[in-house]
């Protein structure tokens, strides 16, 4: 029982990341009609906002390392710790949550720059052209990141207070082995809050209403005198922000490296297709569903019956769903059906 609950939590956790990325992909596709293969790179940029913030907070004074006598080596002592002592150390410890302050403006700016500078030139081009240009952009972004940050993962620690595991089993009178890392629980809650906020924004604000109307019929909304293009640009920035924040918060779970965006992108596209192209609810539901299935497929009991199933489960489910429901779980008629 414990192991099943743990795998469900794992799946929800992973599904949270898939859903956040897939939500942005679906928003971009639904509003601008653009298949954005650079969306994974945006997730990665978010993660590197956390790395950058950590580097900024740990700008250090170089002190000669006397323990190394073979050559001139230096120790680094962060200025924050020199100036503010324990308070400075505490600020460094909270670099991941603090990096949200950096990520919000950076991701919005990147989203706006990407849409205005590149994507808008491809609105009326074929989907293949959009895929090629955004894929190329993703490669350029990841190579720039590799140049400046190297290829190895750069671990980012969660604040010490949430670095350990929560004894979920003890809370609910279950086994003592049912423990789960605090930060992963925080990530799950964070994902649900962000997803809820985006849905609420689209559902309950005038802006959201216009965007949804634009997604349904862009031409008619334009005829009403509404500058739908401007709103779609803002939606692109929101999609970038959601992916970027997902990246920031994921860093204590998975040490970021330049390639992490590509790793998530492929899975997130499968999530979007399974959920139904253009369906926000579908993207979220499919994200969690596939995350959970992936976790269960990794269980030893399952793998002993179907070896290697953990590697193909997502694609297998995608095939089955598309055979049974060609538009995906919650896909709408007419989307990508020229």
């Amino acid at each position: 029982m414990d192991s099943i609950l743990l795998q469900i939590l794992n799946g929800l956790d992973k599904g949270g990341a898939y859903a956040l990325i897939a939500l942005g992909l679906t928003l971009t596709f639904g509003t601008l009609g653009v298949v954005n293969f650079a969306h994974g790179a945006i997730f990665m940029i978010g993660a590197f906002c956390a790395v950058t913030m950590n580097k900024l907070l740990t700008i250090s004074k170089k002190v000669k390392d006397e323990s190394i006598t073979f050559f001139d080596a230096f120790k680094e002592q962060p200025y924050l710790e020199i100036w503010f002592g324990d308070t400075g150390a505490k600020i460094v410890e909270y670099s991941v949550p603090l990096s949200i302050l950096l990520a919000v403006p950076v991701m919005i700016l990147i989203g706006l720059a990407m849409e205005r500078g590149l994507i808008r030139h491809f609105y009326k081009r074929a989907h293949a052209d959009q895929i090629l240009v955004t894929f190329g952009l993703a490669i350029i972004i990841q190579e720039i990141v590799r140049h400046y940050f190297g290829a190895n993962p750069i671990p980012q620690a969660a604040p010490a207070i949430v670095a350990g595991s929560a004894s979920i089993g003890e809370w609910f009178g279950l086994g003592p082995n049912l423990v789960y890392p605090w930060w992963r629980l925080i990530y799950l809650v964070f994902a649900l809050v962000v997803l809820g906020s985006v849905f609420a924004f689209l559902q309950f604000t005038t802006f959201g209403m216009v965007v949804r109307a634009g997604m349904q019929d862009r031409e008619t909304v334009g005829l009403l005198g509404i500058n739908i293009q401007k709103r779609f640009t803002i939606v692109f920035a929101i999609a970038a922000l959601v992916a970027g924040l997902a990246g920031v918060m994921y860093t204590p779970i998975l040490p970021p490296d330049y390639h992490m965006g590509m790793d998530f992108l492929v899975l997130s596209f499968v999530v979007v297709v399974v959920g139904g192209m253009g369906s926000l609810g579908g993207a979220v539901a499919a994200g969690f569903l596939l995350g959970i299935l992936q976790s269960f497929a990794s269980m030893n009991e399952v793998k002993s019956i179907l070896p290697g199933i953990d590697q193909i489960i997502i694609y297998l489910v995608a095939v089955v769903v598309l055979l049974v429901r060609p538009r995906g779980l919650m896909g709408r008629k007419g989307v990508m059906e020229d």
Partner: protein, 455 residues
């Protein structure tokens, strides 16, 4: 259908076929029968040129790019020293040595580099380009056993010496060994043999081990080696689970460990995978658990300083093994660390060390053979005994082209004194304890075959 006759055209179709076969036999026979007969001629013979070119094929992108960057630094330093520049590094401590600091056989050493991308096909393409286009006389490098085995095979086919970089799979000098390939780095069997007694001393005889293993040649052979050595000290193997290389999030593989009844997790992972799996295992509280009355422990059989740096505080107290460590105090290690540190501002990794040593050993073998001809260079390396290169007395065993030397057992340091001071050497396991017969079952099935000089 027209029929050609001797009368009409002088040639029948049968005559044409016979003539073609005869011409082919005459032209082809000498090449076929004598391609190895001319000892003086061989692929990419530098002849009277004033320089000779070496090919350094390292991962410059992909999961092992940082190891590759360090390997490249070491190669450049070795070339510098071979050409008589700098302080000479380990050339001053190597014994015996024919190296004079005037290049190799009086020819200035030049090099070309390639990117393996930690992918076998990319590594082969890169090595092929070096051999065919750049005319290299030797290929070295690599930071993955899959890549090393692929490039070793290519060098064998082409007729070039391959001096393997970081490759730890038993198969490199086991079932996939080749006459043209040589490995200085240690292997999975040696890690297991060195770690077994240390683990017994630290954790006792009664343990249940759970293995998470990278699903490729290196992971498989290391798992096999560790199972053999830990079962030899009385441990039981609870479960072995293969994980995809580059899985990223290992949480779905780690959570089953919590309820498995195992009290020891052995992570047969390397590079980025090791950093991620170890970090996540610690996050899931494994190191704080108690199972069967034992404290739960994690073992990382193959350590590298670069990896340990990536995993940060999580490596504290965790045992593993390594081919070499910069804190060794022998004259060779100190000379290399000083030379490398002055050049780059930080100490070298084990990947850098093995690549530097391989370059010197190749150059020395050429000097001793008096030629660059691969088969004679290979013969000079076979059975060669040397010292002063950081690992104590070492021998290139002729039967499988594997170096035999002491192995280091290390542990993540509890109280590091510097950013490089992450691992501490807890034991230097003597060569006799990690040595095995050439026909040991874990290395069986391979054959060196004939040396190929590519002529």
């Amino acid at each position: 259908m027209s029929k050609l006759t001797k009368k009409g055209s002088q040639w029948s179709r049968r005559d044409v076929l016979k003539a073609t076969a005869a011409t082919g036999a005459i032209a082809g026979a000498p090449m076929f029968f004598t391609r190895h007969a001319y000892g003086a001629d061989y692929l990419n013979n530098p002849g009277d040129a004033g320089s000779v070119k070496l090919g350094f094929n390292v991962p410059q992108s992909g999961a092992y790019a940082d190891e590759g960057a360090d390997e490249l630094r070491a190669f450049k330093l070795a070339v510098k020293h071979l050409n008589g520049e700098g302080d000479g590094g380990m050339m001053t401590t190597m014994q015996p040595s024919e190296l004079k600091g005037n290049g190799i056989l009086g020819k200035k050493v030049e090099f070309v580099t390639g990117d393996t991308q930690t992918k076998s096909d990319a590594a082969r393409a890169s090595a092929k380009r070096m051999i065919e286009k750049d005319g290299v006389i030797m290929v070295s490098g690599g930071s993955s056993s899959g890549v090393a085995i692929a490039v070793q095979g290519l060098c064998q086919e082409a007729g070039i010496i391959f001096m393997a970089g970081l490759t730890h799979s038993n198969d490199t000098t086991g079932k996939d060994k080749r006459a043209n390939g040589f490995r200085h780095f240690f292997n999975g069997y040696m890690s297991g043999a060195a770690l077994g007694p240390v683990l017994e001393k630290a954790y006792g005889k009664e343990r249940n081990a759970y293995h998470l293993t990278a699903d490729y040649t290196w992971g498989w052979t290391q798992e096999e080696s560790l199972i053999a050595s830990t079962e030899n000290i009385g441990w039981q193997t609870q479960t072995t689970v293969k994980t995809p290389v580059g899985a990223g999030d290992f949480s779905q593989y780690i959570t089953p460990v919590l309820n498995s009844g195992a009290d020891t997790l052995i992570l047969n992972h390397y590079g980025k995978d090791m950093i991620n799996s170890l970090t996540q295992a610690v996050q899931f509280g494994l190191r704080d658990k108690q199972v069967n009355g034992n404290d739960f422990v994690i073992v990382v059989p193959l350590y590298s300083r670069l990896m340990a740096q990536g995993a940060g505080e999580n490596v504290k107290g965790i045992f593993g093994s390594t081919n070499w460590h910069w804190s060794l105090t022998d004259a060779g290690s100190q000379a290399f660390v000083k030379s490398f540190g002055q050049e780059y501002g930080f100490p070298p990794s084990q990947a850098a060390h093995t690549c530097y040593v391989q370059t010197l050993l190749y150059a020395d073998a050429c000097e001793r053979a008096g030629t660059f001809e691969p088969c004679q260079v290979g013969a000079a390396l076979e059975g060669h005994k040397f010292d002063g290169l950081g690992n104590g007395p070492t021998e290139y065993r002729a039967e499988d082209h594997q170096c035999f030397k002491d192995v280091l057992v290390v542990k993540g340091k509890e109280n590091p004194t510097s950013q490089f001071d992450i691992l501490e050497v807890v034991e230097v396991t003597p060569r006799a304890q990690v040595e095995y017969a050439p026909d040991h079952p874990m290395f069986a099935g391979g054959n060196l075959g004939e040396c190929n000089n590519g002529a």
